[in-house]
């Protein structure tokens, strides 16, 4: 048999084999519940593995930049530490507050396995799951601020909504005015959000820092979110402020999942009082 004919016959044979095997699996997927679940689980695991591997390779090429980011973050933290040391505040009080904060929240570092940025409802998948202590309704933050909220967890992975999702809203405190209002994605760009329903008499200056309010049971208070931009009156009754987010979602790779350990207690108290 000529070489060319042999090669084409090999490819036809391989294609037929793959076609028949895929057809068999598809039939099995459709007719058997147990195998359906198993095949779906295998497919998810394979995809997660592939995404994870891809991200690992990608991260190898970004080590320089990540090192620079870590150095910058280290410098910022050292600066804050020195500021605390210089402030002359009562050390015991600071220690007590820090201990209280540490007791209330658990921080788990995680790596982004997959994230969407160009959909109307964007999501994020992290490489930590229930076996690592991650629970739904935990916050996702990075050194640059709020990233999202964990929505569902699997054994080794967790799924969350990012700030670029209209279903997600964060209680935000605006810099100088200290007023608290809900912040959500503006639905347009990757780096912008809006704070809605502000009382109209608050004059918000551009450049004020926006941080988490701490009123929710998800994020601790004071996590940076972004800076204020322009503001405008809506229907003459409320003010809407544009916010430029600190977080650049296109370069996000490492995050921290923050879980409020007192969340259940707070929610049950809330429920109890609503019942009465």
């Amino acid at each position: 048999m000529p070489r060319g004919q042999k090669t084409s016959s090999f490819f036809v044979c391989a294609a037929t084999f793959i076609l028949l095997e895929v057809a068999a699996l598809a039939l099995l997927h459709a007719t058997s519940t147990l195998q359906n679940i198993w095949i779906t689980r295998m497919s998810h695991r394979t995809m997660a593995f592939l995404w994870g591997s891809g991200e690992t390779v990608r991260s190898q090429f970004q080590l320089d930049r990540l090192n620079r980011d870590l150095q910058a973050e280290n410098a910022r933290l050292q600066e804050r530490l020195r500021a605390y040391e210089r402030s002359g505040a009562d050390q015991a009080e600071l220690d007590r507050m820090a201990a209280r904060e540490a007791d209330s929240y658990r921080y788990t570092p995680a790596t982004v396995v997959k994230m969407s940025r160009n959909r109307t409802r964007n999501y994020i998948i992290l490489n930590k799951g229930s076996e690592d202590g991650i629970r739904p309704q935990s916050g996702i933050i990075s050194d640059r601020g709020v990233v999202g909220i964990v929505e569902a967890v699997d054994k080794h992975y967790s799924y969350g909504l990012t700030l670029m999702n209209p279903e997600m809203s964060v209680g935000a405190r605006l810099g100088r005015t200290d007023v608290v209002a809900p912040l959500s994605w503006d639905g347009r760009g990757t780096g912008h959000a809006v704070v809605r329903n502000l009382p109209p008499h608050y004059a918000v200056e551009p450049g004020d820092t926006v941080r988490t309010s701490g009123y929710s049971t998800i994020f601790p208070a004071g996590v940076p979110i972004g800076v204020t931009g322009g503001s405008r009156l809506v229907d003459g009754s409320t003010r809407q402020v544009e916010v430029t987010l600190f977080q650049d979602f296109s370069t996000l790779r490492y995050v921290t999942v923050v879980e409020n350990l007192e969340r259940t207690e707070i929610l049950s108290l809330e429920k109890k009082m609503e019942g009465e």
Binding site: T16, L20, A23, L25, L27, L34, Q35
Partner: protein, 172 residues
Amino acid sequence: MMKLSALKYFLLFLAQVAVWNYFNFSQYIFLVFLPALILCLPLEYGPIRTMIIAFLTGLAADFLVTGQLGMAAFALVPVALMRRSVVRLVFGSELYARGEELSFHRQGWQKFLFCLVILTSVYLVLHLWLDGAGMYSLGFNALKFGISLLVSSAVSMAIAYLMLEQTGERWR
């Protein structure tokens, strides 16, 4: 001759369906001789034709036995794909060069057993893996595989003998 072989193939296929439907020996024994039927198909059949026959045979078995379409078909198609290579490996390329058919008497039962063990192993690994759907331990699957391979290979020898009986007569 061809019609007789096709009839034998069909009857032995029905026998396999009957075994799966009515004989549950033990949870550790999965008796299969479909790979023997595939092995005994005429050697002039190329891999594609053999794979299609294997796929349809497996699908028909699934339909008549469990209703989980695709399980036997999934496991039997690789057997059909590997058949030519295994025959070349065990019996040599001369069979194809001379245009001969498999013969129990000419090639000897040891080679047939070796051939059947390889093909049955392929089938069993795939079938048990897919049927278990990750629910059983490796130990259980290994034990089931070992016992099933022993039993199935022995029965497959008899099946192959039945399928190739006349061919053997011809070469005697």
